[in-house]
């Protein structure tokens, strides 16, 4: 990877990202296509008369061959046309725009809090390597890593929402933006897992960087300790952590689905769970595309940032 410029790396990485999006979109379409019975059968419902099914099928264009419908669906995607819901007949895009607000608020707030907190925890532990503080932070982050969100959430709700009554137990009927208190518990739950993994990576990277030759060299040159730590060691220590932040988006999307279900927040996760329960497949398809594109885009950005921070490191997707 030596000598690769940021632009050409970005171009190659973007091409890979595009391939991933295309592959996922294709997979989603044909997975749903593989279902026994189609939308028309579902719509006919209580009245499974073959003539009526054929009629609905023709009306919805389901009698055309799959590749043709796939092409049409594919063309619609960039224009945010995801088709129509089977259950209500409303465009899928309406479901998405209704749910995207709370989900974006949750995800952005989590990321905004996640990065500074985990860098701070990791750097603190690394600067006092081997101390009581370091050991305590490491133990806690090992222990809390990969606890299922729903279990943590209900225990927190039982303690802080029900027993102590400090925080609202759910977000039922509350506007996420005007009542920040309803967001406290969801955010704590969403942050618990990623903070552990990222702060451990920052700590490991920082310990390595502080023991490295170039830091020793910088110290020999008489550069101040603060500058050595934060201008020289920290950027190199952050590169692996940035990759992990991208992996976190994967967890975060999963976590958001669970957290929205627990705290009754009307976001995309709730829309997805409801659509799956109602077997409203166009909505499921649309959400899958949105989630997959988001994940791919975040991974792309993270790889580029990682490349920028430590260009010599081999950053392959």
């Amino acid at each position: 990877m030596a000598g690769l410029s940021l632009t050409s790396y970005a171009a190659r990485r973007a091409a890979l990202g595009l391939m991933q999006v295309l592959a996922v979109v294709t997979l989603v379409f044909f997975l749903v296509e593989a279902l026994p019975g189609d939308a028309a059968v579902a719509l006919a419902g209580d009245n499974p008369d073959p003539a009526r099914i054929a009629q609905i099928r023709a009306a919805m264009g389901l009698d055309r061959p799959a590749p043709e419908r796939f092409a049409q669906w594919l063309v619609g995607l960039p224009q945010l046309d995801f088709g129509e819901s089977l259950v209500s007949g409303r465009p899928v895009a309406q479901f998405l725009s209704a749910g995207i607000g709370p989900t974006v608020v949750l995800a952005v707030l989590t990321l905004v809090l996640l990065v500074p907190i985990s860098v701070l925890v990791g750097v603190l532990a690394a600067l006092r390597e081997g101390s009581l503080l370091d050991r305590a932070l490491t133990s806690v982050s090992v222990a809390l890593h990969s606890i299922p969100e729903f279990a943590l959430a209900v225990v927190l709700i039982a303690v802080f929402g029900v027993q102590l009554g400090w925080l609202p137990p759910t977000a039922v009927g509350a506007d996420v933006l005007t009542e920040p208190a309803v967001l406290v518990l969801p955010l704590v739950v969403l942050l618990a897992r990623p903070i552990c993994s990222i702060s451990r990576l920052v700590r490991a990277g920082m310990v390595d960087a502080l023991a490295s030759d170039y830091v020793r060299h910088a110290r020999h040159l008489g550069i101040g300790e603060t500058r050595v730590r934060f201008a020289h060691a920290l950027p190199n220590a952050l590169s692996p952590a940035v990759q992990q932040v991208a992996r976190t988006t994967d967890w975060l999307l999963g976590g958001v689905i669970v957290v929205e279900a627990v705290f009754v927040i009307p976001g995309l996760g709730t829309v997805l769970v409801d659509a799956v329960a109602a077997r409203d497949l166009p909505v499921v398809q649309g959400l899958a595309v949105v989630f997959a594109v988001t994940t791919v885009a975040v991974n792309l950005v993270a790889d580029l940032v990682g490349f920028r921070l430590a260009p010599r490191a081999e950053v392959v997707a």
Binding site: L16, Q20, A23, V24, L27, V28, L31, V32, A34, L35, S139, V142, A143, L144, H145, S146, I147, P148, E149, F150, A151, L152, V154, V155, I157, A158, V162, Q163, P169, T249, D250, W251, L253, G254, I257, V258, A261, V262, L272, V273, V276, A277, R279, L281, V284, A288, F291, A292, T295, V296, N299, A317
Partner: protein
């Protein structure tokens, strides 16, 4: 030493309940009104005794997580080794590239999507968790096998005319064991996380199943009346997860030092 004690204890309690609990559930259990303070932990959302549900509900979570982890190794390791040792570069690419796509999609989303299509059932749940976990195992085995394939020892064996079985399976396999063992803890807690979260969302198990995660979901409505029906199964899952993390972390440290 102290930490292993805590970790071990945290594993033993839920594991014992999960594996031995079903033996202590009576054939006939009385039903009464939902969320009543009867018995050890009260009754659940349909009036069953919560304590018996706790006893019966650990089995699926634990067994599905264990089986799915085992299967992801059974599929992932040969997959990765074949990709690494293939003579043709093309085989490697064809095997590994599709995994990039799988890794690009959030795992819980894959789970929900496939379950929406294939329907309910424990076999489906095991299959999907395996599907989500095996790309990581395959990548790891491929990387490990590639490193081993470049070793002088293997080159010497090949020049001596050792059989493919001897070089690829016996030597490479044995050398990979350490890497794979180090990864086991992460896989197992990951599988536990996925299985529990999926069951909580109602994917893969019937809605009235005796399952810790399902209990948490179903009994949430009575959180104000009978918090134990929610908190006890949730704490058991948390305790199992923390215990696994601590024990595997300690085992890894021991190997390294």
């Amino acid at each position: 030493m102290k930490r292993a004690g805590i970790g071990g204890l945290l594993i033993v309690v839920p594991l014992a309940l999960a594996l031995l609990g079903p033996l202590f559930v009576p054939e006939q259990t009385a039903r009464s009104a939902p969320f009543m303070p009867l018995g050890l932990l009260g009754t659940d959302f349909v009036g069953r005794d919560t304590w018996y549900q706790v006893l019966a509900g650990g089995q699926t979570v634990v067994l599905v997580a264990l089986l799915a982890t085992a299967f992801s190794y059974l599929v992932g390791v040969p997959y990765g080794v074949v990709a690494a040792t293939a003579r043709l570069r093309l085989v490697d690419e064809v095997l590994m590239r599709p995994l990039d796509v799988l890794l690009a999609v959030p795992s819980l989303l894959v789970l929900i999507l496939v379950a929406a299509i294939t329907g309910q059932g424990l076999v489906v749940l095991i299959g999907i968790v395996t599907l989500v976990n095996f790309p990581d195992v395959a990548r790891l085995s491929r990387a490990a096998a590639l490193e081993i394939a470049g070793r002088p020892a293997l080159e010497a064996m090949r020049m001596q005319g050792e059989s493919w079985w001897q070089t690829s399976i016996v030597y490479t396999g044995r050398s990979m064991l350490r890497t794979l063992a180090a990864d086991l803890g992460v896989r197992l807690t990951g599988a536990l996380y996925l299985v529990a979260s999926a069951s909580f969302l109602g994917v893969g198990v019937p809605p009235d199943a005796a399952d810790w995660a399902v209990m948490v979901d179903r009994n949430r409505g009575g959180l104000f009346l009978q918090p134990w029906a929610v908190v006890v199964p949730a704490l058991l899952i948390i305790s199992l997860s923390i215990g696994l993390n601590l024990v595997f972390d300690r085992a890894l440290r021991k190997v390294r030092t």
